[in-house]
């Protein structure tokens, strides 16, 4: 069944997923499982910034396993010792100044095939910065391979 076959007749299933809590200095990275198609509805995570003085610019990236085709930065610049939380969603109604939190808009009705990745892409990430486990809400279709 192709991606087009799976939508729109099949409305999929909503899932809440807790992803991998990466080691310090590593980005969040989630891979769409084999035989699945995801629509990322929303994603929430935090990042504990180390004491290293630097500005961190956190964004979300979609890629096909190798090549990024979507990158969007948040509206919040994270400084040393702060622990901002970030929310990525298809609907963003608030922008501008944020208080220790960042908002990241993602494409509406995005479709991520098996092997595609949802990643953070952070400029200025320090070795001791530590992302927490991300929480996802996805719409999932399971695809039978022929």
């Amino acid at each position: 069944m192709s991606l087009e076959d799976a939508y729109p007749e099949d409305t999929g299933r909503i899932r809440f997923i807790t992803g991998t809590d990466p080691a310090a200095g590593a980005e969040i990275s989630e891979t769409v499982p084999t035989n699945a198609i995801w629509e990322l509805i929303s994603m929430r995570f935090s990042m504990a910034c180390s004491a290293d003085v630097a500005n961190r610019y956190v964004g979300i990236s979609f890629d096909n396993g190798t090549t990024s085709y979507f990158i969007q930065d948040s509206n919040y610049t994270a400084a040393a010792t702060y622990t901002p939380s970030y929310c990525a969603s298809q609907v963003q109604i608030r922008s501008g100044e944020a208080v220790v939190s960042g908002h990241i808009p993602i494409p509406i009705k995005n479709r991520l095939k098996a092997g595609y990745r949802i990643r953070t892409a952070t400029t200025g990430l320090q070795a001791a910065d530590n992302f927490g486990a991300p929480s996802f809400v996805v719409r999932e279709w399971l695809v039978r391979q022929s």
Partner: protein, 89 residues
């Protein structure tokens, strides 16, 4: 360690990337861990290296998209395996 022994909500630690995750989510669904990119490591051409370049990369997605009768599903790459995370008392 086999992932089969985990109960919903119990956490595992990937011995390759040190990432911590729930192999069986709270709703009972399976979670497929893959190691994230390695930060700040590039090859001579400036390309960002990932665990996929490394021998210990772990990818728990199933190897075959079509199951073969009589055979168990195998994960793509074992890496260094996992160990259970013991919750602090």
């Amino acid at each position: 360690m086999s992932l089969i022994g985990y109960k919903p909500g119990e956490k595992a630690k990937c011995k390759t990337c040190s990432g911590i995750y729930m192999p069986i989510q709270l709703d009972g669904m399976r979670y497929f861990h893959t190691c994230p990119p390695i930060p700040d490591k590039k090859d001579a051409q400036g390309n960002v290296l990932t665990w996929k370049n490394m021998p210990d990369y772990r990818d728990e997605n199933i190897k075959n998209t079509t199951l073969i009768a009589g055979q168990k599903a195998q994960i793509k790459v074992e890496g260094k395996g996992t160990e259970p995370v013991i919750a602090a008392l």
